[in-house]
Amino acid sequence: MKDFANLFTTVDQTTKTSLKTKALAEFFQTASDDDKLWTIALFSGRRPKRAVTTTQLREWAAELGGIPLWLLEESYPIVGDLAETIALILPPPNRHSDLPLTHWITELKSLATLDIDQRKTRIVDAWDQLDPTERFLFNKLITGGFRIGVSQKLMTRALAQATGQIEASLAHRLMGGWTPETTSYHDLIEAEDAEADDSRPYPFYLAYQLEDGPEALGDPADWQAEWKWDGIRGQVILRGGTHHVWSRGEELMTDRFPEFARLTDFLPDGLVLDGEIVAWEGTQPHPFNTLQARIGRKTVPKKLLQDAPVILLAYDLLEEDGQDLRDQPLEQRRARMEALLRDLPDDAPIRAAPRLSFDTWAALAEIRATARDHRAEGLMLKRKDSPYLSGRKKGDWWKWKLDPLTVDAVMIYAQQGHGRRANLFTDFTFAVWDGNDLVPFTKAYSGLTDDEFRKITAWVRKNTQQRFGPVRQVTPHHVFEIAFEGIHASPRHKSGIALRFPRMSRWRQDKPLQEANTLDDLKDLLETYG
């Protein structure tokens, strides 16, 4: 565990990607195959099956730390990470061991067969021989979400450096449904013919935000435009007679969207499509909040399936007849895809995302201005001769989003942040005028600079009117511009509306309190864009 903890410490103590990659590559050159495999697994979002619940961990840690459970619970949101909170609360270890990462993972897996008292004994025994950093990592193995400043991309690059393999082909090998229990380092990384994995998706190609207009992109004739849909980016795979659905976050979502099972009736095997999963109401998508009801549900109740059926708006063909098409120009991939989808019945859960025709950038700008009418967030611009790359690459694919909607609102409640922002007030509730009353309508956490958060924190401390636990009611004084991507009616909220992606876009220190927007202004926006 020492080597792994040292790796973590090195990575954690630098903000430079090159140094992180170097440290990781060195680890991959020296660690055992088992430790390497598990390290790859952890940094690609895999973890050992959870043998104890986080509730149990909290209870045991509080007991050992000599504090009541509620005090641990109160500390957790401030620290921002449960594994870290527990590591900080535990008394110092009484002894020290140096067993490898794989040992501790094996130990955790072996807990599954033990009763609860034995599990506790083993966890407490582990804590008692690990130093604070090792404990933090050990706890992370249990609590999951191994986000410690190493992205899968960075890990893949380090692995490419350490093995001399090509990064893109390694990225592909690392995708799909493998687990450290079902493969070995050799089979996953080194074997000539890595065992074909039918569920394995291609790494997604991600677009950059177009900051200025499209004029700099050159001749409009070289570009294809589509709506930028507000759904879930997904890859649908038809291989081996069955189907798989992957999210951009490399999460297997096949069970969440049973509608796609029927695709095998319409389409040939050996096919991979990239597109947007949207809830469909016949001619256009439902607003995103309809789809939201489907996210986070592992199984979908019948009613929801009827109310919000999903389809794939397909925009790219990555594989046909088992052949990888990613090196072909987009125009050709697109033509092949349209040929496949052309004669499908209307009720097939898939259709080609429309291409938008335009001759000049000015004409396209006019189309973009109508995006909200089509339930889209803006446009996607793709170079017609572009290959399908992996990851976020500049040059061939751009998203040209609509400017967000905005309202000027009054800050009325403030709450301290957590994790990175533990000692700052960063979580605010905003209100608009309804006659002489201020009606809360949204929260926002992001958009200000650290410097602005420090200033507003000092102000909140001095202008607290009342406290409700961690929430402080402050004197209505400061006006902020709130930017958001969408607005819809919501009976659950006092104001009757809910916003999509609200954030603070500007601190309107120039604006008097009375000039903030009103509830009627919000209702007008709801009418127009809801």
Binding site: Q13, L71, V79, E84, T85, L88, A458, T464, R467
Partner: protein, 335 residues
């Protein structure tokens, strides 16, 4: 029922029997000041009273003010109140203020730490009935390693950077923390350079007789190349600024209790975070409170709700100070 010895007002902590305020944040006639940090010693009061160790820094920061000084432990009668100042261990000259009215004793802690730092007068527990305590780090996740352990980490970091031809830039609050760090580092490793804000304070404290190692004030004439392997101590805001770039390749670090939290450490985006604070940690707060033998505890400045709730489960009558003054300065992470 008699009036409480100290009350909490919009201007700050007030003593009706003596008609004075403690660390007020709005202009008052008579202010008793615990220590010279900007959120405790504010400009604009007509008369100031503080320890003789605190006065020079306060004069330096606030300019021409009317200051009267007392020695630690010396008792003054103000109106019907007996007032004395006792070491808080927060920084050189920092005090807790004891106020006694008709046999009822209250202590306002100001900011404090209970471990000795080698430069500040060590914290002295003062027995009282009611104790107004800060709780900046009033959560059980805040526990400090010993100063010797952190000093070793600090010196190892500096020595390694020096060996790699890099400068070591350390961000720390210019009054108190910076001088404490000077007392912790090993001057044998290399030259120590200071930012103007730090050096001004050094000057004041040296003049008072506090002993600090030799430091070189970074003026525009100073060429960093003539001081290879230097440790540079600067206020946190100077890190990442134009000022810091003159030192060429450098490793950066912050020294603060907040560095205990990985999230805060990462937000500051420094290479290292040394957990060293001028405030008491969880165990330190509990020790101090116990030693006062006070029954009534007033929690201010920090995670007050949680801390007061905890104290109530421990048999104290604890409350949250209803108003609170925030630091105006932007060194929110320097504590």
């Amino acid at each position: 029922m008699t009036k409480p010895v100290l009350t909490f007002t919009e201007r700050g902590i007030y003593c009706p029997a003596g008609d004075f305020f403690i660390d007020p944040w709005r202009a008052v006639d008579r202010a008793l000041i615990t220590h010279g940090h900007a959120d405790h010693a504010r400009p604009g009061h007509r008369r100031y009273l503080c320890t003789d160790g605190c006065a020079p820094v306060m004069r330096h920061r606030l300019g021409n003010i009317s200051v009267e000084t007392v020695k630690f432990g010396e008792t003054r009668k103000i109106g019907d109140a007996l007032v004395s100042f006792h070491p808080a261990g927060h920084l050189p000259g920092s005090a807790q203020i004891r106020v006694e009215v008709a046999g009822e004793i209250w202590v306002a802690s100001g900011d404090y730490k209970v471990v000795s730092d080698g430069i500040s007068e060590p914290f002295e527990p003062v027995t009282c009935h009611s104790f107004i305590t800060e709780c900046t780090f009033g959560l059980p996740v805040f526990k400090w390693d010993s100063q010797a352990e952190v000093a070793q980490e600090l010196n190892t970091w500096w020595a390694r950077n020096a060996a790699q031809g890099k400068a070591s830039i350390l961000g720390a609050y210019s009054l108190g923390k910076a001088q404490r760090l000077l007392a912790m580092v090993d001057p044998e490793i290399g030259p120590i350079l200071t930012h103007g804000a730090v050096e001004n304070t050094n000057e004041v404290l040296r003049h008072q007789g506090y002993r600090l190692p030799k430091t070189i004030y970074v003026t525009p004439d100073i060429n960093p190349k003539n001081h290879p392997g230097a440790l540079i101590i600067a206020p946190p805001s100077a890190l990442g600024s134009q000022w810091a770039r003159r030192f060429g390749p450098a490793s950066t670090a912050f020294a603060s209790g907040w560095m205990r939290l990985r999230g805060v450490r990462r937000r500051r985006a420094a290479d290292r975070g040394f957990v060293i604070s001028d405030h008491a940690d969880w165990d330190g707060l509990m020790y101090a409170i116990k030693e006062t033998k006070a029954e009534n505890i007033y929690a201010t400045h920090g995670y007050t709700d949680i801390f007061a709730r905890w104290l109530n489960t421990q048999g104290y009558n604890a409350q949250v100070v209803p108003t609170e003054f925030g630091g105006e300065d932007d060194e929110a992470d320097a504590a």
